[in-house]
């Protein structure tokens, strides 16, 4: 996107001077500008985001930042109507006592100026508790990229406060569902993580399912049915040009595709004579290699974050369970041993956890376990929850919830996000019913 980033550290002397002055002031004991999201309980960090000065878009940018942080569950955005200090100089320290008295642990100020076909945005996060600048950045980009700049600012604030990478400058691909269930239209859609800029990349003439991003976000792989009852097959599609290519050109059905972390391979399931196994396709020469064999259903493969292993689900032991094998096949071992059926394993981009869908006792759940199968923990349950996908920081998941059908009518199908403790779940806005979310990596800058 041709964006320039500079750490904004001018006037350091002035800022440090402010620290000395502020240090003597009383601090509220309960509000800190840090949060440990892995702790069993915490209070969201109260933060004040002031409308950015300069162009009118400055207020819009602040609104996007507020929304991102609030929706993470880790922040509480203090409503601007409560602010005491008005007309702030975006480069000068705020009046810290004013912000302490509204309960803010941090205050964000910034400005946006457009000139010569570029937009320049800078911001500072002030730590109200200790009375100094916590972080600050300056960006230059094209004016129509202002939403992305806002997400990048929200990511910087999230990182400074939580110590974890942000996930706001990302997209989510999903299956947009419309029409009656018996003849449902299912199209692949891509939107910004906050629900904006939705576009549809398949036309809906045939059912398309299970989109997954390449590491660069340039391409997705998904499964789509053919015209005239042709079996479903795996396609690779460029999301900019929409040029698509048939990857799974085999006699039987191919499905459940996923990229390797380096983007050079796609792992998928292929069916022949009713039997389903896992194959790897090298995208550089389209060479196909079989990774599993035997009469069981082996599907939903997903590479480990380092690309050396693959987790998948198989009913080889009688019911669906999770197995791990080497990325080239072999060494298969079962890792799920709880009660019920386990499906759709997804390896965290950090490598520490595997998320899954569990079907047990007539209901569905989304859970995580460590990659060796230990430490299983359920995060969300419901009539039908399915299809976890990791945000790039490995600390937040998305999945979908389907409500029961009744009276011949389809129950709603919606996307949700939840943090890894299971404490904070929220519905993600979509234009239509939606399933099969795939969270992208951070958009390359």
């Amino acid at each position: 996107m041709n964006t320039r980033f500079d750490m904004m550290l001018p006037r350091r002397q002035t800022i440090l001077g402010g620290v000395a002055l502020a240090a003597g002031a009383a601090r509220p004991a309960n509000a800190q500008l840090t949060i440990d999201m892995t702790k069993p309980s915490f209070e969201p960090v109260p933060i004040a985001i002031v409308d950015f000065k300069g162009d009118k878009v400055g207020a819009d940018i602040a609104g996007v930042v507020r929304n991102d942080l609030q929706n993470s569950g880790l922040f509480r955005s203090i409503p601007p109507s409560a602010f005491i200090q008005q007309n702030m100089d975006p480069n000068a320290p705020p009046r810290f006592p004013d912000w302490r008295s509204v309960g803010a642990a941090g205050v964000v100020v910034g400005q946006a100026t457009t000139s010569g076909g570029n937009i320049k945005v800078d911001f500072r996060l002030w730590d109200v508790v200790v009375g100094q600048q916590a972080t600050g950045l300056s960006f230059t980009s094209q004016p129509d990229k202002w939403r992305r700049l806002a997400h990048i600012i929200a990511d910087a604030i999230y990182k400074r406060v939580t110590g974890e990478e942000g996930y706001f400058d990302t997209r989510v691909a999903y299956v947009a569902e419309t029409g009656p269930l018996g003849n449902r239209v299912k199209r692949i859609a891509i939107m910004d993580q906050d629900g904006f800029n939705t576009r549809y990349i398949t036309d809906g003439k045939t059912i398309a399912l299970t989109p997954r991003f390449s590491p660069t976000l340039q391409e997705i792989v998904y499964m789509a049915y053919g015209e005239n009852n042709a079996p479903p097959r795996v396609y690779l599609q460029n999301v900019e040009s929409n040029r698509r290519e048939l990857l799974g050109n085999f006699p039987g059905m191919s499905f459940a595709p996923r990229f390797s972390p380096d983007g050079t391979k796609v792992v998928m399931s292929i069916s022949a004579d009713g039997n389903t196994d896992i194959y790897e396709m090298d995208l550089r020469g389209r060479a196909l290699r079989r990774l599993t064999s035997g009469p069981a259903i082996d599907t939903s493969p997903c590479y480990s974050n380092d690309g050396t292993q693959i987790v998948f689900n198989s009913d080889r032991g009688g019911t669906q369970q999770l197995y791990v094998m080497g990325a080239g096949g072999g060494g298969e071992r079962r890792i799920s041993f709880g009660e019920g059926r386990y499906a759709t394993p997804v390896w965290s981009p950090r490598g520490d956890f595997i998320a899954f869908t569990k079907i047990s006792g007539g209901s569905f759940g989304i859970g995580v376990m460590r990659s060796d199968g230990s430490g299983e923990r359920m995060l969300a349950n419901g009539f039908l929850v399915e299809g976890p996908t990791w945000a790039p920081n490995g600390r937040v998941l998305a999945f979908f919830r389907q409500q029961p059908n009744s009276g011949g009518r389809a129950g709603s199908v919606t996307l949700h996000q939840i943090d890894i403790t299971g404490r904070f779940e929220r519905q993600m806005p979509t234009q239509t019913d939606a399933s099969d979310p795939a969270w992208s990596p951070l958009i390359p800058q």
Binding site: P232, A256, S271, D273, S300, I359
Partner: protein
């Protein structure tokens, strides 16, 4: 006319008691359809068989339906056949695609064993993507775990 209605009522009672066949399946010839037509196949032969949860084994009631299908398909050799495998909504999407494929293939193999040429029969899995009927109770799920023989 009254006689035909009475027969239909009895047939319906039997179907409810059996609790496994489709309404359009296995009904005796109470209406006039052209012999050898798709409507004839659906009404008088039965176009679908049902499966137990997470299973792809052809049940006894399914064998009877498939035996009738095989007889009919031998008599009317001009049709190409696609067996569609379906699942209820109580599984995950990808696994259900594979399970639907297994069910379609089980029905196909049974028909081939009854003498239908393998080259006449294609399979396709719809997983849980095409529910019929639409519902979220045991009765709807039982009807959705199905393999449907579609004629072209």
């Amino acid at each position: 006319m009254r006689m035909i209605k009475a027969l239909t009522a009895i047939a319906a009672m039997i179907l409810i008691a059996a609790c496994s066949n489709d309404q359009q399946a296995a009904a005796p010839a109470t209406t006039t359809v052209t012999p050898g037509s798709v409507a004839d196949f659906r009404q008088n032969v039965g176009d679908r068989v049902f499966f137990d949860t997470d299973q792809s084994t052809i049940r006894e009631d399914g064998r009877q339906t498939l035996n009738r299908q095989a007889e009919w398909l031998k008599k009317y050799g001009n049709y190409q056949i696609t067996v569609e495998g379906h699942c209820d909504e109580r599984g995950t999407r990808e696994y259900n695609l594979a399970l639907g494929e297994r069910r379609a293939n089980a029905a196909r193999q049974y028909l081939v064993a009854q003498g239908i040429p393998a080259a006449r029969i294609k399979t396709i899995s719809y997983g849980k993507e095409r529910p019929d009927p639409v519902g979220s109770d045991e009765a709807a799920w039982a009807r959705n775990r199905r393999a449907v023989t579609a004629l072209q």
